[in-house]
């Protein structure tokens, strides 16, 4: 079947009566494909003709752009994680808007900056929101540990089966890991007490995006500090040794976070988390 030429359909929608001949008209009557295309042109015509001269003032684009830049000025990493989550939750079209409270509740937009932890921490976690002051340069000190842990991550993951089969390992605490807005997946994290250093066993069932890898983090509920425990292997399961310091308690490092990281060599958290959960202290 030969469809009616698109240009003719467009002409017809524009009201050019001579656009279609009798054969075209006949075809149109029996062809849903061509009618659908014609309807789309008609829709554009209707929209276009219904448009009135705009009385919109000239947008103050310079001022808006400056406000955007000011709002996006660097903050601490965890604040940005928090901000990301808040903003995604508020604005991502993939979420159902109807179920959400209005985003213009006074102060809502400030929440991310003032109280990073109220978002980062799971709901059952009591936090000292807003009380924690950023500590300049503090995060930087963790990076040597981070780098070492990241380098070890895969090795540890490979050895995981051996480690967890030992008899003297106890699960001291565990939490479910849930997907963040815009992500899918779920998992568990278990804090293991061993005769040596504590370990964290992480298992995530979720997609590993192409051209990205995943990294496991232990974030402090003060929102200012985090350890990178290492790379999460593609299998989604691995066990990580924790710093000895945490042998007698997590000292606030209760948030288990699995991030999606680009291969950019940047040791910082990408602020793009797949799943997250909070261990009981």
């Amino acid at each position: 079947m030969v469809h009616v030429n698109s240009a003719l359909l467009a002409g017809h929608a524009l009201g050019q009566d001579d656009a279609l001949d009798a054969a075209d008209q006949e075809h149109l009557a029996s062809c849903s494909h061509c009618r659908a295309e014609l309807d789309q042109y008609r829709r554009v015509v209707t929209l276009g003709q219904g448009t009135q001269a705009s009385e919109t003032p000239t947008p103050p684009l310079d001022r808006i752009w400056r406000s955007i830049q000011a709002e996006l000025a660097p903050t601490s990493a965890t604040e940005e994680i928090a901000a990301t989550k808040t903003m995604v939750a508020d604005s991502a079209p993939s979420l159902t808007a109807n179920d959400r409270p209005a985003s213009d509740v006074p102060g809502n937009d400030e929440t991310a900056n003032d109280k990073p932890l109220s978002v980062v921490a799971a709901s059952d976690e009591t936090t000292d929101a807003g009380g924690a002051k950023p500590i300049p340069g503090r995060r930087r000190k963790w990076w040597p540990i981070v780098a070492a842990a990241a380098a070890l991550g895969l090795v540890v993951g490979a050895g995981a089966t051996v480690i967890i089969n030992r008899n003297d390992v106890q699960v001291a605490a565990s939490t479910a890991l849930s997907a963040l807005p815009g992500h899918t997946g779920h998992g568990t994290a278990e804090l293991l007490r061993t005769p040596n250093d504590p370990e964290l066993r992480v298992s995530v069932d979720g997609p590993q995006p192409a051209d990205r890898y995943r990294e496991v983090w232990l974030i402090n509920s003060d929102g200012q500090r985090m350890y990178s425990l290492g790379v999460l292997p593609e299998s989604g399961t691995a066990t990580y040794p924790l710093p000895t310091l945490l042998a007698n308690g997590l000292d606030g490092f209760t948030i288990v976070d699995v991030s999606i990281e680009p291969y950019d060599g940047n040791p910082e958290h990408s602020r793009n988390s797949q799943v997250r959960g909070t261990l009981p202290e």
Partner: protein, 191 residues
């Protein structure tokens, strides 16, 4: 971290989207340059308030940037995503206003207070179309503006622009096809 700076002004929407999702902040600037005015206009027309329109526009770009890793090209275009965020933001404001209005109405016993003049989705499509028509090159854009907005016939347009009637008609058809595709591209975002 990326060190290279690319001039994005001539980049396709799709390349710009990739750079945006990748965290190149010059893509944020270019996106604002391309769609900031459109989003402001939509918010202004929907909310009839310049300060709220300004606020919404800021929120859309800040929100998109902070949530950029959740952008997926398979779901639609970058402007489609931005417009989707704008639509939700504006709808939130409208709902909040509707609630306020209910309170006012209950207090004053006034019925039939009009809240929205036209559906938000239609308004967005319409303003996207205006923007796209304005971006059409001469004489195509001129022909369509005269036909749509000034209600001129093709022969009047042909006379005024001193073009053959056939040329005017053919431009109008092509423009319509182009607009149909652009409208689909720009507003597409599957949720």
């Amino acid at each position: 971290m990326r060190a290279r700076r690319v001039d994005w002004r001539n980049a396709s929407d799709s390349d710009l989207a990739a750079g945006f999702a990748d965290g190149d902040d010059s893509c944020l600037e270019e996106s604002f340059r391309r769609w900031g005015s459109l989003i402001y206009t939509i918010a202004y027309r929907a909310l009839d308030s310049s300060s709220e329109a300004e606020d919404i526009t800021q929120q859309v770009f800040v929100g998109a940037w902070q949530g950029r890793t959740s952008y997926q090209e398979s779901k639609g275009s970058l402007p489609g995503w931005l417009l989707g965020i704008a639509r939700h933001r504006i709808a939130d404001r409208q709902r909040a206003r509707a609630r306020d209005l209910k309170v006012v109405r209950a207090a004053t016993s006034q019925a039939n207070v009009k809240v929205e003049s036209q559906p938000l989705v239609t308004l967005i499509d319409r303003l996207v179309l205006v923007e796209e028509i304005q971006r059409l090159p001469h004489p195509r854009g001129t022909i369509l503006r005269m036909a749509f907005w000034e209600g001129q016939s093709y022969s009047q347009i042909a006379e005024r622009l001193q073009l053959p009637l056939g040329t005017v008609k053919s431009h109008a058809r092509r423009a319509l096809r182009q607009l149909r595709v652009r409208l689909e591209e720009v507003t597409s975002w599957s949720t």
